[in-house]
Amino acid sequence: MPTNMKAAVIVFPGSNCDRDMKVALEAVTGTDVIMHWHRDADLPDVDLIAVPGGFSYGDYLRAGAMAANSPVMRTVVERANKGVPVLGVCNGFQVLTEAGLLPGALMRNAGLKFVCRDVWLKVENTETPFTRDYAKDQVVRIPVAHHDGNYFADDETLNRLEGEGRVAFRYCDPAGAANDDANPNGSRHNIAGIVNEAGNVLGMMPHPERLADAALGGTDGKPMFDGLVAALH
């Protein structure tokens, strides 16, 4: 059913999950998603901004560092600070940390290898527009595909994130236990995704847009997009 929810996907040179994000969003909104090239003039007013996965600027210097300093990201930061929901997936998460919208940093995977496989995630916070259609502590299967997904933050930042319930997703085993064996990249506290203080910015390394249609082998990513429509429509 068509909705009037307007979403934009920011496209950088080297983004490569931008079309997947568009397809996943359009499947639930029934409305064309704006593909916003990073150098285009004013970002239209939208209900949701998605920063997609990929390798913006070839990961030069640090993953996400160049994109985070592009003019369009100044606009994204302004909108986020006004409460517009911003979803960053994979490279998008790296961009959001580099832009200062989310704390911490994504470092080279502890095992040094590019990891491309499905992982299990425990949904820890269902009080956000991104996670409201999941159940608390639900275990979902979502793919990861990254070389720099090793979440690092200092102890003080981690304590704050944990204390404020800002860990949205944690790598876990199929039974929901977040242990070292279930951690694909060495992330501290098995963190796979976090939200900002206001709860309107989510960054996550796994790709919900890649499992949002049964034809792709699973639908565990779909509640995120359904939830966004329910929250923003």
Binding site: L61, N69, E98, N109, A110, L112, N150, F152, A153
Partner: protein, 81 residues
Amino acid sequence: MKAKVHVTLKNGVLDPQGKAVQHSLAGLGFAGVNDVRQGKFIELDLDETDAAKARATVEAMCEKLLANTVIENYSVDIAEG
């Protein structure tokens, strides 16, 4: 005027690449390597002729782009001449 910037991971931040290099060196028979930390070296050629101003500018560049101060330290050397 040239500026030389070293960007290194902060103490306490695990450096998996440094660890891998350390293990490879051991495998090649180089004994006694206690630790390896890997970083970046960036050389800048600047119009600025005042060393103090050049340093201030390059430090601003480090804070804004060249280093991620969540995980990295930086040091700046200004080469006169």
